[in-house]
Structures are given as C-alpha cells and as structure tokens.
Symmetry: C2
Subunit: 216 residues, 2 copies
C-alpha cells in the first residue's frame, strides 16, 4: 500500500514533480488555535466528531467529542494540562469530574521532523483564488507507536488537514481537521467549577497517547 | 455510522450551524477541467493514483491511473467518448488498444440533486486568506448503485474534493481529488494513432460505472 506513494502519477496529461529546492520542509502548526475534527477507523469500531482548542504556549489541549465506539454512543470531554501534569475528564451533564495524573510530555502539533515528503497538491483548484488550498503530504513510520502514517498539512499556516495512522486495534485511523481559527477562548482551558473538588487519581501508567501527542 | 453525521458537534467552544437561507445547494462541477486523484478501499484490495481530464461539453473523460489491485500492479489508461458510444482502453507501452461499445449515458460531475446537506467547513483555516478552503459536505443513498455515499465539493467553483462510497466489493471506497485546473489539453481526448485499427468489441453489457458516472 505504501509503495504506491512512490509511484509518480506522471501519466499522459500531467507530470508533477518538485525539484529539491522547492521541496517543503516539515512545519510546526500555529501556537494557539481552535478547530474541529472527524475521526473514523477502518474496522468501523470508532466514529466521532468533535472540537479542540490547542495552546502550545501554555502546553494545554481541550478536546470535546461525541461518537460511537463498538456501537455505543459516547461523549468524551477532556482537558490536558501538560505543564501541571494533570488531565480532567469532564462530564458536564452529571457535573462530575475525574482528575488524573498526566506523565506525558507535551508534543507540539507538527509534521514529524523525519517524515518523508510525498507530494504537494492543491485541494480544489488554483485556477482561481479562494478555490484552492495548497497542502503538503508526508509519510513515515513510528515503530510501536503508529506504525505507518500519512499526514497532510497546509503549506501556508501549517494547519493539519488529514492524518491516516496505521494501528493494531483499529486498522487505519483517519482524522480530518477543519474549521481552524487562530486563537482560542481561554475559558476552554479552565476546569469547570465542579472539578475543583476532584481528587487526583493515578491511572494505570499515567501516560496518554492522543492524536496531538502521537508525533514527536 | 451515518447517524453520527446528524449529531452536531455543538460542544463547549464551537456551535456550528447554518440557517436554511445560508444552506448551500447541490452544485455541478465546471464543464472542462483536468486534475488528479487517489483512490483507496477499506478492504485494501485497491489503491491507485491517477489523472483525469473531464469535458462535459463534448461528453468525454480521460482517465490514466497506476495502482495495485489484489496485490498486483496495474496501469489503466482509458478514454470514454460518451457521445460516440465508445471507450478505448489504451496500452501505451505495447501500443495496443481495445475499442469497446459504451452504452452508458454521460453523467455530469455533480452533487446529486437529492443529496442531504451535512455541513459546510473550512479545510485549513479562514483566519487568513489562502490558508483555507470552504467546502460543502453531502450525504445520500443510491440503493443498488453506491449504497451510502458522502461527498465533499468546494463552495467556490464546485470542484470535487472527497468522495466516500459504500460498496459491496470493497467496503468504503475513498476518492480524493486535487490539482484541478480549469481547461484541458484537447489531445487528451483524441485516441492515439495505434487505436485507429482497433475493431469495436461488445463487452458483457456495454455499461460502465466509473466514479464520474456513478452520480446522476
């Protein structure tokens, strides 16, 4: 499957190719932004949509998602505060909160430095302004963590667009990112009042792998 | 899986929603354009990349793709001339050509008229010009042909961006479209010289379902 990335589509009417001087370099996303995502898996176990707020300055991420896992609906609302070493799993309906130790380091959202460049393409069209979006496609391999991955980031702004991540539990996991807006409401990162009384829980290993922290 | 499309992601920090007056309508793509695509299937039987030239004025489509099907590499180079009722399967390496009867009507590239609107989203970001692409997402059901489908077209220009089509043979089929350019080299639609002597072959039913003609 991966091998096909190396086949250039240099057929009759188009012969794409970038010289090394024009070759994009792995980029890091903006420091502070808000957006939405959809995630689906090859084995159809998981399907979800949600929003995120990402703050690389203060090393914190808010995620709110609704979806289906193994045919059961779920709501997952979580706040990662990496510099404090805690995460909050928030249930707004029941006004309950689980506060857990978080031993993972914050990993900025970026194209991995050792990713291999695949292609630069225009989504839509660049025959006219505002009808196209220039994105760079990358691939790589992180043994034991993601196996193979394929990621797509915008050339201008370095926003994530698409990630395809090979996993043991789900097969390929597809993550689509959209509605990115620079900046974030700071209240997104403040635990709600009913979290104040939550006592710290040590989970199994205190390590978290989420789709913002998989790449480093 | 489909049901999740109806769940609005109205969680903490974003509450998307369009009033009916702002609701996009199904659109038809430009009449003449050239582009590239990648196709992959849920069951991993098929993976291919290729180019197309689309001409709705003269009802003709050129497709050139390379890929893997059931772990075997293939090259597929085909010219559909709907108004003449023929298609040419072209082997440029061997300079051979198969000319087949084509009884399918030409179906323009468009969002099906009865598609249900799912959402309007910005790929990338609209915090700054050229960092985002406004697309409309649609879903629908064509019993016996595609079952469920999900398609994404640009708001400006009505170029295809993504199609997810549920099939019996492949599971979900994902088609990504990019590098669309208005216009096409007319030579793309002229059969190569070695096709002149090809005799017309009636294939099994003379009907073709390709990803440009699935929707009507």
């Amino acid at each position: 499957m991966q091998a096909v990335f190396w086949m250039t589509a240099g057929l009759l009417c188009l012969a794409p190719g970038l010289s090394s001087a024009q070759r994009p370099r792995p980029c890091r996303s903006p420091l502070l932004y808000t957006g939405s995502f959809t995630v689906g898996t090859q084995n159809e176990k998981l399907w979800a949509v949600g929003n995120y707020a990402y703050d690389a300055v203060n090393q914190r991420i808010y995620l709110g998602e609704v979806g289906r896992y193994n045919n059961n609906s779920f709501i997952y609302d979580v706040l990662f505060l990496f510099d404090e070493g805690v995460l909050y799993e928030i249930n707004r309906q029941n006004q309950t909160c689980v506060k857990e130790a978080l031993h993972s380091d914050f990993h900025p959202m970026q194209v991995p430095k050792d990713a291999a460049f695949v292609s630069q393409v225009v989504l839509g069209s660049n025959s006219s302004l505002v009808q196209g979006l220039l994105v760079n496609n990358w691939r790589g391999y992180i043994p034991g963590i993601t196996d193979h991955y394929f990621v797509s980031f915008t050339e201008f702004g370095c926003f994530p667009v698409l990630m395809l991540i090979q996993t043991k539990d789900f097969g390929w996991v597809g993550l689509s990112y959209y509605n990115n807006i620079l900046g974030a409401d700071p209240n997104c990162f403040i635990p709600p009042p009913f979290c104040e009384d939550a006592t710290l829980v040590e989970n199994e290993d205190g390590k978290v792998t989420n789709f913002f922290s998989v790449f480093h």
